[in-house]
Symmetry: C2
Subunit: 595 residues, 2 copies
């Protein structure tokens, strides 16, 4: 049971299921269903798919996630970024609206599902860590801008397209003479209404006597209000006859079975996009899932989450949908509305299914501009300008990776932007560690502690030099360390003992070992004894597997104080006995100083 439950979380929460959890889940499901209907239609539009594909993508995947998913509050379905990435990936291969385009979308969902599923089976969830925080923040912001820009043509009722920001802007400029004033009024009106609703609707409902929680929930249904009002307006004023693009006929019925293409050519052309979509989808899902789980002191297993998300995507691809993932806004609503188990997701699926069966004729007159407006408002509100600024202030290197992601995404599209960000952040990390911070250290009076001579008033013996190297010794920095040591020893001919303080050396690889051997030999030739101090257990274990310790001219000291105590007992003891440096003591002890 335990073993099976690991792969089927439903076996765990299913056993405790009762009337109370059922009621909680049902309420959450109703609210999420209402919220999800316009979102499903809108993101289908964004992905270049027919509207019903958005509904289908919100039925089978939700049921499958309820069985395999690791998070109890996550609401999966079509989301903005993944829909844009889908459009980018398959827009290269087929004309939107064509059969080939649909097949490519189904296949992409299945491929991405298989990819996630395999990552989960092999417990490779940690791969997602390659997406650093700045890259994700930058990517979300830039793709938000890109998505908003891509929807402007629906707001204006013009044609065109474009995969990157410049192309979109150029395309808008080229088609600006096609502008439809009625479409624009609906689109801009909806945007204004939705932005107002985010701040103004809840206080209004509270004033009208609604309770705090209910008012908050109801305010989230603003897109539904916009959908109803604009659909009614379109029907009443015969707007479709006046050039306002509407959703039109949505076939009624159950989700179809849609087998993916088995063409290896198509698979190979979609593989890269599927991988990117999977990783971005997983990263956004897992961060939402973990944040919500933490609020209830629960944990989410990332690898099980991969399996759940993978199975859901396969289900999406097989049932007329397109790639899906966990949505931030709807998961928060689901959680706030009191969803207790993934069953809430299954109930939502039933709600959407009912909509697909009975509601679609009512959506005939829904203007596309309304959907575009809901997309624009949704994506603009997830751009965290504050986080972008904070990252930039905190570290120029992280800021650089973020900027590269943003510029790459806007200039070359989502895929290039993401790849640029990941490659640059890896490269910058390697670069940072390839020239590590090094400090010559001395003993802090009154303590056994050693600190940087440039930052603290410390005691040193000119004949003994201690260098603390603040990085693991590995191939990218081993030559740097050699050069550093040689330069120091050359500049200080009085030095007789050179101690490499390894408190911050977390690993030594073959290249690092090679450098240590070279340093040892070179110092020996110059009449300087080479010691190590504070070598960590795992690093010591590794050194013992080489012959380095046999050739070492000096010793390996367990502590830096021990090293100095042996090489120069007088100074070491005297410094320890000395009156402690007051400034140091204050910083160390005071509750205020170091903060």
């Amino acid at each position: 049971m335990k073993g099976l439950a690991r792969y089927f979380p439903i076996l765990e929460w299913g056993r405790e299921y009762n009337a109370a959890t059922f009621a909680d889940d049902m309420i959450a499901a109703v609210i999420v269903t209402i919220m999800l209907i316009p979102q499903s239609l809108a993101y289908a539009l964004l992905a270049g798919m027919p509207p019903e594909a958005g509904l289908y993508a919100s039925i089978a995947p939700l049921i499958v996630y309820a069985i395999f998913g690791a998070s109890r509050a996550l609401a999966v379905g079509p989301v903005a970024v993944i829909s844009l990435m889908t459009a980018t990936a398959i827009g290269r291969l087929a004309e939107p609206g064509s059969i080939d385009y649909l097949t490519a979308a189904f296949t992409l969902a299945v491929l991405s599902g298989i990819f996630l599923f395999i990552l989960g089976l092999f417990r490779l969830g940690s791969l997602a860590n390659l997406l650093s925080h700045p890259v994700v923040t930058g990517f979300v912001a830039a793709s938000g801008v890109l998505i908003a820009a891509s929807q402007v043509r629906h707001i204006l009722g013009i044609g065109g397209g474009g995969e990157n920001f410049v192309a979109i802007v150029v395309s808008i400029a080229e088609h600006i003479n096609e502008i439809n004033i009625r479409t624009t009024i609906i689109g801009v009106g909806t945007i204004i209404f939705l932005f107002w609703a985010r701040k103004g609707l809840k206080p209004l409902l509270l004033k009208a006597g609604m309770k705090e929680g209910a008012a908050g929930m109801a305010a989230k249904t603003a897109p539904v209000i916009a959908v109803i009002l604009s659909t009614l307006a379109a029907a009443y004023f015969h707007l479709p006859d006046k050039g306002v693009a509407i959703v039109g006929d949505i076939p009624r019925g159950l989700p179809p079975f849609t087998p993916p293409s088995l063409d290896p050519e198509l698979w190979s052309r979609l593989a890269g996009s599927a991988a990117l979509i999977s990783i971005i989808g997983f990263v956004s899902t897992i961060s939402v899932a973990q944040a919500l789980a933490a609020k209830r002191r629960q944990r989410v297993d990332p690898n099980q989450e991969l399996i759940g998300l993978g199975a859901s995507n396969i289900a999406a691809g097989l049932s007329g949908g397109f790639p899906i993932t966990g949505g931030f806004a709807r998961s928060v609503v689901n959680f706030d509305a009191g969803a207790r188990t993934p069953a809430a997701g299954a109930f939502t699926a039933v709600g959407i299914l009912l909509a697909a069966l009975f509601l679609t004729p009512l959506l005939y007159n829904l203007p596309k501009a309304t959907l575009a407006a809901t997309i624009i408002v949704a994506v603009i509100s997830i751009i965290e300008a504050g986080a972008l600024l904070r990252t930039w202030r905190f570290s120029k290197s992280d800021g650089g990776a973020m900027a590269a992601t943003i510029v790459g995404t806007l200039a070359f599209g989502v895929e290039m932007g993401l790849v640029a960000g990941v490659v640059l952040s890896l490269g910058l990390h390697i670069k940072r560690t390839s020239a590590p911070h090094c400090a010559i250290v001395g003993q802090v009076p009154g303590t056994e502690h050693f600190r940087n001579v440039d930052r603290h008033a410390v005691v040193t013996n000119p004949k003994i030099m201690t260098l603390r190297v603040d990085e693991s010794l590995y191939f990218a920095n081993s030559r740097f360390l050699e050069d550093k040591v040689y330069a120091l020893v050359a500049a200080h001919p009085e030095v007789k003992d050179f101690i490499l303080m390894c408190a911050a050396v977390n690993d030594i690889d073959s290249s690092g070992l090679e450098s240590l051997e070279a340093i040892n030999q070179r110092l020996k030739d110059s009449g300087v004894t080479f010691h190590l101090s504070e070598v960590k257990g795992p690093v010591m274990d590794r050194l013992k597997r080489s012959s380095f310790l046999d050739h070492l001219s000096g010793r390996v000291f367990l502590t830096q104080f021990g090293a100095v105590s042996l090489l120069d007992p007088e100074t070491a003891r005297a410094t320890l006995a000395a009156a402690p440096d007051l400034q140091f003591q204050v910083e160390r002890g005071s509750p205020m100083a170091a903060k």
Copy 2:
């Protein structure tokens, strides 16, 4: 003057030049010239170039290197690995022997020279550090095997080819019926002679009354003896008429001016290979140059070396040659023979020029099998089986990168092998740091020192938990740390204070900061106070640029002992006063124990 001398090292050593250095350089030049003639011809063969190209590649580049080169003892010219990489790169684009092939080789040399030159100008010599020691060792070994295998057909006198080991072996099997017995006798005979000469020739010469140094030098001329003897034998027995392939007509004359192709298509197809050739060439050059410089307490500036090597390659490409670099064996000979300045290289160039002008008719009957034999013996002797084994024993991860390089090189050729090795070693480094070693630490009795509770007999207070994380906190491991801390705190409900000991945290990026903030918030919610200790100066500077320190529930302690002294003064003082743990003292103090 100082500024100019930086880019023209000749201005520095030229001023001190005198009769004594001239004599030393001349002697070295004569010996290197004798050694270089058969090597130049052999490596031209390996590169798929006509024999005279090998001579040309050993004239102009040597003179240019004498002007720009940073090393005083390095001997540049055609070398085995670079010649094989040249053949691989241009063999894809043109038929060996064709005009296109020659043009591609000239262009490749110029491109690779420009690449090196630019790296030098922008002082990017540290890029070479991306080639870790295991990758270089593995690459040299595998390409040695590949080169030796590629020469087998010349030894047997058969046709064929192949870019990877399997293809070469298959090709040999397919052509085995073409075997020429006379060619085989010459080839195998030369191999046996050369291997014997490496061990047996010097003792023989010593016995004959030669002095130690002279005998060593003379033994290195074994390939020249093989060339002379086999050429005489081929002429005497009319071997060319009996199917033995010979070098044939080598045009006499000065190196021609050969303009590179300016076709952008060709440039773009050669760019990747040029980059790989440049980096491999630079890495082997700089390690030889630095090793030799160290013996005379000199230093080699890697960036100037890039400029020197770049200029030499441009010269090679413009004067009928192909890509060149510093040769290990010939540089050691040059050094041992007493070369004092790069002028020795220029004198060698004059020697090769004389050979190109007057000696080539004598080489008409030189069997190709002899040249192939010199190549095989040279490359097999640079394979360091011991280094391969040591690397494998020292670290499975380094061993893995090495194995990938070897397998990749043998299975897919030199370029793929190199790329596979670099990518894998970077990936493994990221993987290692993404799940860092963590240790719960306690105070070592009698000291202010804190060590892993699992490795040492230390004192802890159950209400205060200190975790030492042995890695910088960055995007690849930030989530790992979060999970670790949450799991520890969940497992130890008695903990009231949690200290993160940051002695080994060398950097914190935005993702790491995000995790620290999350940990602080989560611990605060659980009623645990979160402290940091031993935060390094640069890391503290960075934290101060965020608002983390304002929200931190606990404090930042300068030392771990200070932290415990404040949180639990009684235990801290008592432990410090306690009789020191003998085992620990012995390990720390004894000259023997820790070694």
